[in-house]
Symmetry: D3
Subunit: 123 residues, 6 copies
């Protein structure tokens, strides 16, 4: 059963985050393998696999949450790539960041746009 959650999560992680997601999990291999396992089982196997929101909506929500939290640029880059992977166009990602200005102020939006710039340059 745990195997089912793990398999479902790994498939979802690969679908959303692709190479970036795999790289995060691998980087945890020696120091905190269970952290990687929980990301697969819980974040992707439980949460991302739920019904009620499209994958595009889930990525919009995730990049919004990471922009707002601040200090999560590495994860923001992985999920900006994830947003592109599930079919959100570059312009819409930037537009989502624009919508946050009244709620987070300009500095966090500037940081998120800088992260997007780094990701878009590798497309």
């Amino acid at each position: 059963m745990e195997t089912e959650r793990y398999a479902r999560g790994l498939e979802k992680l690969t679908e959303v985050d692709g190479e970036g997601g795999k790289h995060v999990i691998e980087s945890l291999q020696h120091i905190a393998p269970d952290l990687g396992r929980y990301i697969i089982e819980f974040a992707f196997g439980d949460i991302y696999s739920r019904e009620g929101l499209s994958l595009q909506e889930r990525e919009l929500i995730t990049i919004t949450s990471l922009l707002t939290a601040g200090g999560c640029e590495p994860q923001l880059e992985v999920h900006i790539q994830g947003a592109l992977n599930v079919g959100i166009p570059q312009e819409k990602i930037v537009e989502a960041f624009m919508q946050c200005i009244p709620y987070t102020g300009f500095p966090k939006v500037l940081n998120a746009v800088a992260a997007a710039k780094r990701v878009f340059q590798n497309q």
Copy 2:
């Protein structure tokens, strides 16, 4: 021109936040009237009036940002009502909060669900 931004913003504020939005602006009348004006002109006249995202997507992004920031329960209640006003069903609002669990942890999601509960009870 400023009049145009103000009129466009007021229309958008009314469309999205309805009575809750008007109440916020009125509460600022004597102490900080320009704050209310900037919310109308900038947040709604400039940002909410942009193309590139549907109003439903803008509300999803806004409630996600408010949940993640924390300590913004009054504004979260206004925008949960706003999300209902633009046609997002209750289940989808809760589902958006569920998507945040891996990125914000449980406590902020619990606070957001409690805010949703207060708003839903008044429908």
Copy 3:
């Protein structure tokens, strides 16, 4: 298997948070039952059930994280009670908050001590 995680988590939740924990889960029953289920399965079934830290150490870490995050007073009260339940004396809970002063500043510590005061009064 899922049943095992759920059962293990419920037992741990009851051991740590007692009535306060059950009350949180029940309050989610109609609006977001899966949120309650994930708290039981993941937070308590997976994380709290791990080896490597005592329950007292886990509660110290949890109340420190909630104090530092800010705006999580309801959850802080539940876990201050949880800290008492697993045998941490009142003086040590306050001392843990004192240790945070250099890292969070006084305001968040004042909020946490106020939460502790409310919990201690009900003992």
Copy 4:
């Protein structure tokens, strides 16, 4: 010597925060008396007693920091009163909050203006 820091801090606390400051210290008497002592000795005896900034500038900085942190409304109310005590007019306090809009977004400024409204009503 410690007595000197304490005496200097208590005088400064009384000058800045008046009754509100004394009330905070008294509320800590039974649960965390050292917390009150550190606020007097360190926050007021060491930091507020430094040269290089006027008391008005220190209060401007303090209310800005509390607005930006979020979730510190009780402390914000004490220091809005403190800002009035050291001679900052109500309009300037509100104007300081307006200056934060581009950096924190509207929600935290709305929370700070609501706190100011509560304080100003008691003048």
Copy 5:
């Protein structure tokens, strides 16, 4: 009219942030030009151009807000330079950061002083 806000904002941005401000706007040219326009029109044309606070007071408030938010070091560097540009001496910038210690704790103040060190070295 919009032209008036833009022109007024650009003049203010140049007065406060000088080259650093222009560089931020230019870096947004291809990815999010409207973000740069809103910074000029709203942050500088609307907010920085208001009466009621001197430019020195506005910069004190801005660097305090950025220090407290955390994770905004690039913007903090631009506005530390801005604080110097409007005539705040280096010692007073550092003293403003010292005033934040009781409210934010040491780590964020250490980050801000490190940013100041980088800016001061280029004078």
Copy 6:
């Protein structure tokens, strides 16, 4: 007397943070020497020198607070080394970070584990 606090704090700083702590103080020498003095006198002379928690418990609390605050990676690295210095094994440091997942979400835990990885590689 002040000398006593300073001496006690310096001894504690050296015991906990070793070279990393000294390096922080030295880096402040020219720009903000009082900041270094307050870290020694207040953070270490007053807070770390209190009774009621072991040094290992204090370091657990400190690294939890720094992880939760976010954006404090330099200070987190110093205190991860500090945790090792007072005898907390690497596995337990990582386990403390795991305990934070339900309260902060995955991104901040990923940042903390990355900081731990950098520190552990220098052992």
